[in-house]
Amino acid sequence: MGVYAVIVAYPLLLMLVTSFKSTREIFMAPFALPKEWNLNNFVAVWQRANFPVYLKNSLFVTVTSVALIAGLSSLAAYALARYDFPWSNPLYVYFLSGLMVPIRLGVLPLFLLMKNLRLHDTHAALILTYVASGMPMSVFILTGFFRTLPKELEFAARIDGCNEFQVFYKVMLPLIRPALATVVLMNFVPLWNDFFFPLIFLRNDALKTIPLGMTVFFGQYETNWGLVFAGMVMASLPLLVLYILLSQQFIKGLTAGAVKG
């Protein structure tokens, strides 16, 4: 168990330690600690590469998509779970069918669709795709949660004078907060890390997200290893720090759907 933990953790530590070294040091003493812990590599990445731009793009695309997914799926799930309307069951099944389908296999029509809509090479193409691909699982999880809430809460809220939206917003939404957190993390991590759709949709360097920008950066500075390691650390650090702070929520969010209950 301990040995395996070392196998897992060692490359990560190596990545972190190496990012403080100069290229010469990496070559001469690959396993030694750096002689001095200097931040030159990080400063260089921040200034020379388009890193701040990539970071901004990643933040914009991911946060917008996740916010839309969380908002829309909680509304949809609430309606599906709490109201009986003629098409509610087929609609639920329609959402579920999205669970079975790997969206990547539909990337060609999406690509042509975005081209025809003149959304090609925009963040909107990414956000629309992400929202569509994130909805089924989120609706599935949230519907399950909404169904467990007692009807009496709804009645009580009505008697106290809430309108439909207030019932949802003031009473139901706070109650499903844990599930909502799961949904947010479940979507945030894969979208933040996604490489495939940016690769297909984006050409303009100023629009690229971190994973795609990494490849540009790696191509430019391939021989400057210190810089490349620093770039990798900077690309993964935001998420790793969050992970260390909230590891149990992360693990729960990312395995949701595979673990029962």
Binding site: P30, F31, L112, L113, F195, V228, L240, Y243, S247, V259
Partner: protein, 281 residues
């Protein structure tokens, strides 16, 4: 979600010139992909690599991964710490994982070969990713490094869901710890293992990023790490590495449809198998 897949099916029956429709093609695109060189050769090669990818990953996670999960249940206070470490690489982008291992495996100065030299296994050093024999297994191991935290976590949850009384009863009846595991714990865990296996299958048949990053879109050296994902990407969107051919929408769609069929048929069959197991208990 449904629209892109249905249109994929539609597109695969159409003759395309670049991104312009030409006319109805019938099964022509499928015929080309399945029976015409070089496509058929690449398709079979890629499919084999996907199967290898999945089978090896499956073997690693259901033996070693399960073993680790069982050990974790006995981990006590350290459980959370170990679990956090195991799961950490799964939160990394495949791009970072790919580049990191590309650097570690670098033949001239990468830490892996340097480490082998250091412990006196100099004759084991090799260009891991440049050798046709070792490239794909190396990629599979790198992927396992990132992925294993997921099955371990799910197995752990499954193991923790098994009532302690069952195992205790078996122990009282005189079973050895191995017998308890083999005849009590394992059968109860079969549905969990089944679900994880199906997810792994879907994930491995969609493999793309790691290979694209580490071995390029044609799965170098000489297509030895080519998988359906890279084959699809090359065909559908054109390939800068081989002189920038234009993407072929018809052929690409045909590959996507075939991939979808394989994934769909196998996972539906898998779910059916798992369900049957559940009923038996």
């Amino acid at each position: 979600m449904v629209y892109p897949l249905l249109s994929s099916l539609g597109y695969s029956f159409i003759e395309w010139d670049g991104y312009i429709r030409r006319g109805f093609a019938g099964f022509d695109n499928f015929r080309k992909v399945l029976f015409e060189r070089p496509y058929s050769e690449r398709l079979v090669g890629a499919l084999k690599h996907n199967v290898f990818f999945f089978v090896v990953t499956f073997l690693i996670q259901t033996t070693f991964g399960l073993f680790i999960a069982v050990m974790l249940t006995k981990g006590g206070r350290l459980l959370r710490l170990f679990q956090t470490v195991y799961f950490a690489p799964y939160t990394l982008s495949q791009v970072v994982v790919g580049f990191l291992w590309l650097l570690l495996l670098n033949p001239t100065w990468g830490q892996i070969n340097k480490f082998l030299t250091l412990i006196g296994l100099e004759n084991l050093t090799r260009p891991w990713l440049g050798d046709m024999m070792t490239a794909l297994p190396t990629i599979v191991l790198v992927n396992a490094w990132r992925w294993l935290g997921f099955p371990i976590t799910v197995y752990l949850a499954g193991l923790q869901g098994i009532p302690v009384e069952l195992e205790e009863a078996a122990l009282v009846d005189g079973a050895t710890p191995w017998q308890v595991f083999r005849h009590v714990t394992l059968p109860l865990l079969v549905p969990t293992i089944g679900m994880v296996t199906i997810l792994t299958f879907i994930y491995d048949f969609n493999a793309f990023e790691l290979i694209f990053i580490m071995q390029g879109s044609s799965g170098s050296p000489f297509y030895s790490t080519d998988v359906l994902g890279t084959f699809f990407y090359r065909t559908a969107f054109g390939d800068a590495t081989t002189g920038g051919e234009v993407g072929q929408v018809g052929l690409g769609s045909a590959i996507a449809v075939l991939m979808f069929l394989v994934i769909c048929v196998v996972s539906v069959f898998g779910v059916w198998l798992v369900r049957r197991q559940e009923v038996e208990m």
